[in-house]
């Protein structure tokens, strides 16, 4: 299929070979017709996989774009792939047309000129995006500059089973105290898993008196001093973790079965609606609820980016634009489907579109936007990389 697409591109008149102008939307949709888009996205969550399959059927219907979901276990795989293609001199018709990305991976790709763009702010649906108050123009403090387009908002929530743990916790210090009196009842995904490192950052932000230092890159001078409280905290927490910290769940979704079985009472999620979705899918008991910390929790946006050597950039832009459409956004927010936060501004939508969102029942375990409270910014990626590496050395190999 892909070969045919490349062949067709080669046989088409020459202008087709030049990079397409994102602002010329008619040309984009015309070129997208018949293209196959290989979307590399983490495949560990069945609800996300189902959603991507639905997106595929919709863009095929409306734009004649064939969407193939390449299921990754780690987004870094896709980054590697594009990087090696560039080094092998394959500057067109690469294996990947679109990547679900953010944070360090985006920083790495943007830095190495591996991305197509800017395109995001030229897409028609960008006009509906709440770029004023949602952090979609910076990604982990890195300016986005149109090289990736947002499609979901995420915020850290804690997931607890009220049947065994009735009360919410207000801070990370409360969590440590609770874990010490309830050993073996909490765990977090194993760093360098995305959610696992997020937990570490959340700890650091919450226990530091002033977290503003994290907005700047970590330096050799300040790193040890800033992170010392984190390691003290973890040294105290680890013996009280599930399996005493000798094993960790691989990912965030792998924590749900642990709650469902009663192995742990408390977990962490990056998706405020995921718990309600899991209840709907029989993966969690209906006694599960979520909470955020008093000082707020970390939030960020999920983006899609297009590699510079994609052979189906027009098709990828069509998919990226569709992801920002009210139809796709409302579906993603539906807790029985995905339960992701929307990137759109409700006041920018037409009445009909807004009705789609109003009709949603967010689910018993989902906090309202007001309850979600303050969204704390992600630290600079350099913190995450160093903390994650140090975690592996301290807790990941030495047991």
């Amino acid at each position: 299929m892909k070969h045919l697409a490349i062949l067709a591109a080669l046989l088409a008149p020459l202008p087709a070979l030049a990079d397409i102008d994102p602002a010329n939307w008619d040309e984009v949709t015309a070129q997208a017709q018949g293209q196959t888009v290989f979307w590399n996205a983490w495949g560990g969550s069945t609800t996300t996989n189902d959603f991507i399959a639905w997106v595929g059927s919709r863009v095929a219907e409306d734009y004649g774009v064939t969407l193939e979901h390449v299921k990754l276990t780690d987004t870094a795989d896709a980054v590697t792939r594009v990087l090696s293609e560039k080094q092998a001199g394959q500057d067109d018709g690469g294996a990947i047309d679109m990547i679900w990305i953010n944070g360090a991976n985006f920083a790495a790709m943007k830095d190495a000129d591996l991305l197509f763009g800017p395109y995001a702010e030229q897409l028609p649906n960008w006009a509906l995006v709440d770029f004023e108050s949602k952090s979609v123009q910076t990604d982990f403090t890195i300016p986005v500059e149109g090289f990736e387009s947002p499609w979901a908002m995420a915020q850290v929530v804690f997931v607890h089973d009220t049947a065994t743990m009735p009360d919410a916790l207000g801070s990370m210090d409360d969590l440590l105290e609770w874990a010490q009196s309830n050993p073996g009842r909490f765990s977090y995904p194993q760093p360098p898993d995305f959610l696992g490192t997020t937990f570490l950052k959340q700890v650091l932000i919450d226990i530091l008196p002033d977290a503003s230092v994290l907005a700047e890159p970590a330096t050799d001078d300040n790193y040890d001093a800033v992170t010392e409280p984190l390691w003290d905290y973890l040294d105290a927490l680890t013996p009280n973790l599930w399996r005493a910290g000798r094993a960790y769940p691989a990912t965030g979704t792998a924590m749900f079965p642990l709650i469902a079985d009663g192995e742990v009472d408390l977990s962490i999620s990056f998706s405020p609606g995921a718990a309600s979705t899991a209840i709907a899918n029989n993966e969690l008991p209906d006694t599960v609820r979520t909470f955020v910390l008093d000082k707020g929790t970390i939030g960020n946006a999920s983006f899609v980016a297009i590699p510079y050597n994609s052979g189906a950039k027009a098709g990828a832009m069509v998919v990226a634009n569709f992801l920002m459409s009210p139809e796709a956004q409302a579906r993603a927010q539906d807790p029985t489907i995905l339960g992701y936060g929307t990137v759109l501004a409700m006041e920018k939508l037409s009445d009909d579109d807004r009705a789609l969102f109003d009709a949603l029942d967010l689910g018993i375990a989902t906090l309202t936007p007001a309850e979600l409270g303050t969204v704390q910014a992600e630290p600079h990626p350099s913190w995450m990389t160093r903390i994650s590496d140090d975690w592996v050395t301290r807790y990941g190999v030495a047991q």
């Binding site: 892909k2 290989f38 590399n40 495949g43 560990g44 969550s45 069945t46 996989n49 399959a53 390449v70 299921k71 990754l72 276990t73 780690d74 870094a76 795989d77 896709a78 980054v79 590697t80 792939r81 990087l83 090696s84 080094q87 092998a88 394959q90 294996a95 991976n105 790495a108 065994t164 050993p183 194993q190 599930w242 399996r243 005493a244 000798r246 094993a247 960790y248 769940p249 691989a250 990912t251 979704t253 792998a254 924590m255 749900f256 079965p257 642990l258 469902a260 079985d261 009663g262 192995e263 899918n281 029989n282 993966e283 008991p285 050395t393 807790y395 990941g396 190999v397 030495a398 047991q399």
Partner: protein, 564 residues
């Protein structure tokens, strides 16, 4: 090339298909291990990759895991098979165990590992069935059973899959060892059955099954999918860590992966040498034991224990498949309920379409690889027959070579090499990579029945005016329909179960049931894993069922072929 000249070169072509990728892969591993990776702008030689590797804090444990789980799994599964065969072959319990274990050979490693995990985890089915009644648990105990630091769960996962393999290999070897009469003679001399078997038959059988035992050892030391599902993560085994380094966004980590791959190869070679030395020690001790004239006082206990272990091994896989099936239909299922609150088709409706797509990909790859392997195998065997090529014992080792080199030692190199020459990833390279593993098994499966065919049939047919091709197509292959289909089924099952070649050579673009199932491991969605695991098992088992059924239907009126 005319067909006349094609046949004699087929054996060479077959060896190339099997050993070419292995050789190329090792070369592709060797260069980056010494710092040479032009794709990342690095040119060697340099020892930095090894310095980085030995600087990794998890290395000692990762190495110990690789060695420990590999040796333990091999020793235990071999002991179970040898003692069960020694104590029970020819008896009713043995026949029943053999019948239970044979189909398990086709169950993919990943599915068996998932089943075992769902069975033995603190929240697994065994705990559910016995709680709270027997155990008093109303919540799962905080015990590190699956993914334990010592790799015991992973070792168990390997044992339950290697026992059926070694048993079938042993049964094949027994036919040539004249076991029944030897044991009868020993029994007449006052030896108990198990001791008599060990002293008279074991040395001959062992000599025959030595290559597959080495394969089991090399495989168990470097397995990836079972280790991801059942093995520890703090740190993981060396092979899993190599795969992690391979997928690191920083290409420089491929150098560390390559160095790790060479270390993995060295570990396997070292373990094989140790095993070989162990063989001579055991042989010396055995000779003393034989000379001592001991008749075997503990026979009954040992034989009983072995039978129990063998039965547990079979039950673990069978019950594992049952619990996979239950999860695939499960509604909400809390601990310690023995069964889900409700059974529902919802999971199948959700994941069914996805599995069908993966099944299609799996089938295309497996059918192509197995058919190519079958054609090459028949070509080799027919060339051997027509041109009277004698196959030496040394050539037989060549067949086992691709199975002895750890997958993690040459597949990363093969991927890097393909990257360097700009070859496209995708289905065809994956098929060729599968062929490396499918070919030996297809060949080993078909060679004996093919050679055992009464060549006087060929003389008669030629005397009746049939050309060699006509003899092959009209007489030999129809008569060998069942072994040919069985060999094809073996090839399909091997291909269906491949994880690492599909993942690495497919560049993530080729999604088979196995890669999808193992990818789900990280998400922990047991309902999805249940659906994918069952589909994967079905994809491997159905061809075997057909290999039994088709000849039975086609030759339903041919008594002479009923036991062929």
């Amino acid at each position: 090339m005319s067909r006349r000249y094609l046949l004699p070169v087929l054996p060479a072509l077959t060896l190339l298909a099997m050993l070419g990728p292995v050789g190329a892969g090792l070369w592709g591993t060797f260069l980056p291990a010494f710092g040479h990776l032009p794709a990342a702008g690095l040119t060697g030689p340099s020892l930095d990759p090894f310095r980085d590797l030995f600087g990794w804090a998890g290395l000692p444990r990762a190495m110990m895991l690789s060695i420990g789980t590999g040796l333990l799994a091999t020793v235990i599964s071999l002991a179970i098979v040898m003692l069960v065969t020694a104590g029970w072959s020819g008896t009713r319990p043995f026949l029943m165990l053999e019948r239970a274990l044979s189909p398990l050979l086709a169950v993919p490693h990943a599915a068996a590992a998932f089943g075992l995990a769902f069975l033995i985890a603190p929240s697994g089915w065994l705990a559910r069935l016995t709680s709270p009644g027997l155990t008093g648990w109303d919540r799962p105990p905080d015990l590190l059973i699956v993914q334990d630091s010592w790799g015991l769960a992973m070792t168990a996962g390997l044992i339950v899959k290697e026992v059926p393999f070694l048993l079938l290999i042993t049964l094949a070897a027994l036919g040539q060892a004249d076991a029944q009469r030897s044991v009868r003679v020993a029994q007449a001399l006052g030896y108990r059955r198990l001791t008599g078997w060990l002293k008279t038959v074991f040395p001959r059988v062992y000599a025959q099954i030595r290559p597959p035992i080495y394969v089991v050892l090399a495989y168990a030391m470097s397995v990836v999918d079972v280790a991801i599902i059942l093995g520890p993560n703090t740190p993981p085994s060396l092979s899993v860590q190599i795969v992690k380094w391979m997928s690191h966004p920083d290409l420089a980590f491929r150098l560390e992966a390559a160095a790790g791959a060479l270390l993995q190869l060295a570990l396997v070679i070292g373990a094989l040498v140790v095993w070989r030395i162990g063989e001579t020690i055991v042989a010396a001790l055995g000779r003393r034991w034989i000379a001592s004239g001991a008749r075997g006082k503990a026979d009954a206990v040992v034989a009983g224990g072995a039978l129990v272990a063998g039965t547990f091994s079979a039950l673990a896989v069978l019950l594992g498949l049952v619990v996979l099936a239950i999860w695939s239909f499960a509604g909400f299922w809390s601990f310690p309920a023995a069964l889900p609150d409700e059974m529902t088709l919802r999971n199948w409706l959700r994941f069914g379409p996805g599995t069908l797509k993966a099944l299609g990909e799996t089938a295309v790859i497996a059918v192509t690889a197995a058919m190519i392997a079958l054609i090459l195998t028949i070509g080799c065997l027919e060339a051997e027959y027509r041109h009277n090529i004698r196959v030496s014992q040394r050539a037989v080792w060549l067949l086992y070579l691709p199975l002895l080199v750890p997958q993690t030692a040459f597949l990363p190199g093969l991927q890097t090499l393909m990257l360097n020459i700009g070859a496209d990833v995708g289905r065809w390279p994956v098929m060729l990579a599968h062929l490396v593993f499918v070919l030996p098994y297809v060949f080993l499966s078909l060679a004996d029945p093919f050679r055992a065919w009464d060549t006087r049939m060929g003389v008669i047919a030629a005397a009746l005016g049939a050309s060699p091709d006509r003899v092959l197509w009209r007489v030999r292959l129809p008569m060998l329909l069942r072994p040919v289909l069985t060999a094809l089924a073996v090839g399909l099952a091997v291909s269906v179960g491949q994880y690492l070649p599909t993942l690495l050579i497919g560049g993530g673009r080729v999604a088979t049931l196995t890669t999808e199932a193992v990818a789900l491991a990280s998400g922990g969605d047991r309902r999805a894993i249940g659906v994918y695991g069952l589909m994967q098992t079905g994809a491997a088992l159905v061809p075997f069922a057909l290999a039994l059924l088709i000849p039975a239907i086609v030759w339903r009126n041919r008594k002479g072929l009923r036991h062929g």
